[in-house]
Amino acid sequence: MDQSDPLDTARDFGLHRLADGYPDEIREAAAFARLLAQKLPRDLAPDEEPAHVYRAKTAS
């Protein structure tokens, strides 16, 4: 997540009413998203694929 003003980013996304009407909420939401991204593990190997398709293992 870059450090640009989240209100500008929201406006870039077309969320003008949200950014203009609820700036504090948007700043809080953006800060939380940034925090989540920082908490994500970074040691993923290239062959670790996304779980796009659910492949359940059966109970043994």
Binding site: L15, G21, E25, A30, L36, L40, P50, Y54
Partner: protein, 465 residues
């Protein structure tokens, strides 16, 4: 004289089948109780007395004619108001849908219950779109906890939890994307199951996050939960996440006990990664002692830290939720509650790479869990770390929101049941989670039922004013 509010599904089913009680008198008694008490609890957004009594009369005629359809026939239940019932609007507890038209069809689960002869009493309150709450800035007030109405009943399936604890219904459905069945089950002293991803169809349920959404049964007893899942489970080709595999009889192994079963305790989730409230922790330790006393072999197991699960769950959830809500966020942000804007709004700021990496973490953690569970029958950990906060204390509510160990099992898809482990010194319910391998809900019920029978917590009921 029958106290209808106290009946379990198992008890009611037996009485209905034997024609000792009538679906009509049962339905009427619960409707009367709701009218008498729900003004103080706000469990229901919409009560459906006419439809319910008509369905009860039909059930009565069928049972009298010998056409008994199973243990839910003639049994009243409630639906979280993100789940469609034909002919009734689904509001998602939001101004966005406050004037919504009636649903044109039943959700898959509603249809299953209708065919089983269950009686829908009404739609229950939720956090807005199953995420924003508890909130006082929505068209309807939040549900309150029957054990102490000043306190949060858990969410987002808040009304379903409150309705069960208050004796308004013996069965209710909730949805669970980060813990929304298990949280109200924990805070209201109930059994709440998040089944394996794909076990129960989500067709006709308003989505929060496609990858993480589950529909689950909520009841006052474990045996009732198995009865309800017996109706709900099964493949639905119209739900892309539905698993094409047969469901077993979830009640079949209930009485087999736990002697010799291997229980792993994910202690670091509640005594390391996070630190649970002392009474909550004590409830889990006492439950483990009970299970040891019943012959289970209990040992600690370790998984990846809880924070990794929580971050991946949240990144996927918020990204997918924002994708669903983006148009309304552009055009009608004023029609959401503040809590929903703050939570779903975060999804606008998550990078695509982080979303993809979260799904890769999901795959990694699902494999780790499967490997860890290879020589374990069930795992036990905390559900909530804290007791239910007061509804007039927004800081405590927000603080408690992330202090829980439920999202890991949404992320990896494994089944997880919240069950009561007693009561705090202040009289509020305590709880734990029992988790199993994918599609092994029956093992969870077996362990939970043995514990419940030994501990006896479900006999206690809140006193309504």
């Amino acid at each position: 004289m029958t106290d209808f509010a106290e009946l379990s599904i198992a008890e009611a089913g037996g009485l209905l089948r034997a024609r000792k009680i009538s679906p009509v008198e049962y339905t009427q008694a619960l409707l009367d109780r709701i009218v008498r008490h729900d003004g103080a609890l706000n469990a229901f957004l919409r009560l459906m007395p006419d439809e319910a009594l008509a369905a009860a009369k039909t059930a009565e005629a069928q049972i009298m004619a010998g056409d008994w359809r199973g243990p839910m026939h003639g049994v009243p239940y409630a639906l979280k108001d993100i789940i469609d019932a034909a002919g009734v609007p689904t509001t998602c507890h939001s101004k966005i849908f406050a004037d919504a038209k009636a649903a044109s069809a039943d959700a898959h689960v509603t249809g299953l219950l209708r065919r089983a002869g269950a009686i829908l009493l009404g739609k229950t309150s939720t956090h807005e779109f199953a995420i924003g709450g508890p909130s006082f800035d929505l068209p309807w007030p939040p549900a309150r906890n029957p054990w102490n109405r000043e306190h949060f009943p858990g969410g987002s399936s808040s009304g379903s939890g409150a309705a069960l604890a208050a004796g308004f219904v013996p069965a209710a459905l909730g949805s669970d994307t980060g813990g929304s069945v298990r949280n109200p089950a924990s805070f209201c002293g109930l059994a709440g199951m998040k089944p394996t991803y794909g076990r129960v169809s989500r067709r006709g349920v308003f989505p929060l996050s496609y990858s993480l959404d589950h529909v689950g049964p909520m009841t006052r007893t474990v045996a009732d939960n198995a009865i309800l899942l017996n109706v709900l489970a099964g493949h639905d080709a119209a739900d892309p996440g539905s698993a094409d595999r047969a469901a077993p009889d979830f009640s079949a192994a209930l009485e087999r006990g736990v002697s010799g079963l291997r229980i792993g305790v994910i202690r670091h989730f509640f005594d390391g990664d996070l630190h649970a409230d002392a009474e909550m922790k004590c409830g889990i330790e006492n439950a483990l002692d009970v299970l040891r006393g019943l012959g289970a072999k209990v040992r600690d197991i370790a998984l990846t830290p809880l924070g990794d699960y929580a971050a991946a769950n949240r990144i996927i959830l918020l990204s997918e939720a924002f994708a669903i809500h983006e148009t309304w966020f552009r055009e009608r942000p004023q029609d959401y509650g503040s809590s929903t804007r703050r939570r779903i709004g975060g999804g606008a700021f998550i990078r695509a790479a982080d979303y993809v990496n979260a799904t890769r973490v999901k795959a990694r953690l699902a494999c780790e869990f499967a490997d860890t569970m290879r020589d374990i029958d069930v795992a036990i950990t905390a559900s909530s770390m804290d007791l239910p906060a007061r509804l007039d204390d927004p800081e405590a509510l927000e603080h408690g929101y992330g202090r829980q160990a439920r999202p890991p099992f949404n992320l990896i898809g494994a089944p997880a049941l919240a069950v009561p482990t007693g009561f705090s010194s202040s009289g509020l319910p305590l709880s734990m989670q029992i988790v199993a391998k994918n599609f092994d809900e029956a093992m969870i019920y077996r362990v939970a039922h043995a514990y419940e029978q030994a501990a006896g917590w479900t006999a206690r009921r809140p006193k309504l004013a």
